[in-house]
Symmetry: C2
Subunit: 317 residues, 2 copies
């Protein structure tokens, strides 16, 4: 029965998007233990770290040490975030040394205001840089384009879907095969999600869309469902729903955690899709995330369990 279910791929983002703005700094050993737990649970993609400059993002000063220490799963993609050319050069150096990431994400934002605040440049210049980054990374890594503020921006309000489509096309022209549509501050709505994912499928069919939704207004899973309905099979999420910008400070906009992995796994599996994950090990990883951060996180399934899904899996076995 399991073999006949359609596959969906979840990228576990706890170790990067999740930890980036946490007040607690985890040790490299802790991060390695977490990433290894994600690998054991069966995630096909894991956002492992960022090559951001340690001055700007001190949480990932240990990027190389973490990537050198993890136990790699066969066929698993370990992603590192690269905001600029220097980051890609570090990624290449680590890959040459035999322990680097095998997937890099290249970042743009759909709005000028957010580009300025988050990438400290303008969109035209960032696209020029992304072109350089893609050129030196090509053939060495699978490249993931990331578009922030896809569905709205706290500074500029509504975002024209045409701008996003153009960005997806630009990524495609650079040889980027996968593009994450980032709902950075939780402005996405199911209708907008369905429309955009269908439009990308129609206009840029060579690109695989990734749903990257934050739960700022409680709609992250509803939006994942809408993306699923529109044909999306790649999802980003983080254990415990952690992550996102600490926007109460920088964007004045409340909680912005990622979709919670535990709850997304439950939703997708209940909807009849195969995540390929071991549910017991997902729960073990969930507990490890809470243990390392020293607090109860935001996943509901972490509290309530997988419910009938556990029973269903027993019947399948």
């Amino acid at each position: 029965m399991t073999a006949m279910r359609e596959r969906v791929q979840i990228c576990e983002c706890f170790a990067r998007d999740g930890l980036q703005h946490e007040p607690i700094a985890l040790s490299p050993a802790d991060k390695i233990a977490l990433i290894d737990a994600f690998t054991r649970a069966g995630f096909p993609r894991i956002e492992a770290t960022s090559y951001s400059h340690p001055k700007h993002v001190p949480a990932f000063a240990d990027a190389s040490e973490v990537l050198a220490g993890i136990h790699r799963g066969e066929g698993v993609y370990y992603k590192a975030t690269c905001p600029n050319l220097r980051a890609v050069e570090r990624a290449l150096r680590d890959a040459d040394a035999g322990f680097g990431a095998n997937e890099l994400s290249l970042l743009v934002s759909a709005t000028e205001s957010h580009t300025e605040r988050n990438l400290m440049t303008n969109r035209a210049e960032q696209w020029r840089r992304v072109g350089e980054m893609a050129a030196i990374a090509a053939g060495r890594f699978r490249l993931i384009g990331v578009i922030s503020m896809t569905f709205g921006c706290p500074f500029e309000g509504a975002v024209d879907a045409g701008v996003v489509i153009d960005d997806v096309k630009r990524f495609a022209a650079l040889g980027v095969t996968h593009v994450a549509l980032g709902d950075t501050n939780g402005h996405a709505t199911p209708s907008a999600v369905r429309a955009l994912f269908r439009r990308i499928e129609a206009e840029v069919p060579e690109v695989t869309s990734i749903a990257h939704f934050h739960d700022s207004r409680g709609a992250a899973l509803a939006n994942c469902l809408a993306a699923l309905e529109a044909g999306c099979r790649f999802f980003d999420s983080a254990f415990g729903g952690v992550g996102g910008h600490p926007s109460r400070i920088s964007y004045g906009d409340g909680f912005t955690g990622n979709a919670a992995t535990e709850d997304l796994v439950h939703l997708l599996e209940c909807e009849g899709f195969a995540t390929g994950l071991d549910l017991d090990r997902v729960m073990a990883a969930s507990r490890l995330c809470e243990e390392k951060l020293g607090r109860e996180l935001e996943s509901r399934v972490a509290r309530a369990g997988f419910g009938l899904l556990d029973a269903r899996n027993l019947q399948d076995a």
Copy 2:
């Protein structure tokens, strides 16, 4: 523009489902202030109290006092929960005295195990009682049937949709016009929700279905979206996502709060439906709920605000 949008009706359940198992007992004056805030915000239906026996549910020993004290909005339905015949008799007495509820909910559960634990009887006997209750209430109140454990049960697992359909038909035969499909412990999935709501529409078209979903596994809003897609226009929710059974104790099953009203309002309005609510007064009521319970509750929108919806409403004005 607003006039052309299709109407949806949210029943605010904070004052009953929300408070039933809260450790803090609110005073009648606090409850009246809350219900008045809900009326001012524009809710067309408000679950105000329960006529459960004060020995079993002490939180609503003040049912008559609360109903006597509220300021009624024109055309607003104020609902009281009635688990048994005595409760309906009390509701009739208050109505005769001129201050009662104008909507009563009559309870059944889709499973024997939950009927035994929650209603302390069996399904056959509860249906006999509901028949008596409907008979003496007919013509005096709008009657709402409530079916618990519609999508699954922590004691019995999966629930046969045929049992639920039969229950909806039984309610219809008793003159009950609206039936709430209760996902008491968060086992609903979007596919199951869509299928059931469509089946009721097809097989029992004289009944209006109400989506009553709990967020035990984070899918409450995704399930509301599925119900909306299946044609449902009546939703139950509670400010701050409070409520539900304290199932860590009684059902061993984690958090079971209701869908959070603030987040549901955001979702429905963003999807182009008219809740008829004043967003500023919704936020004011949200703050009042947190103030009265003395803690930050579970709504995301309470933290992040209505976002682009606020801007859109300004443009409409």
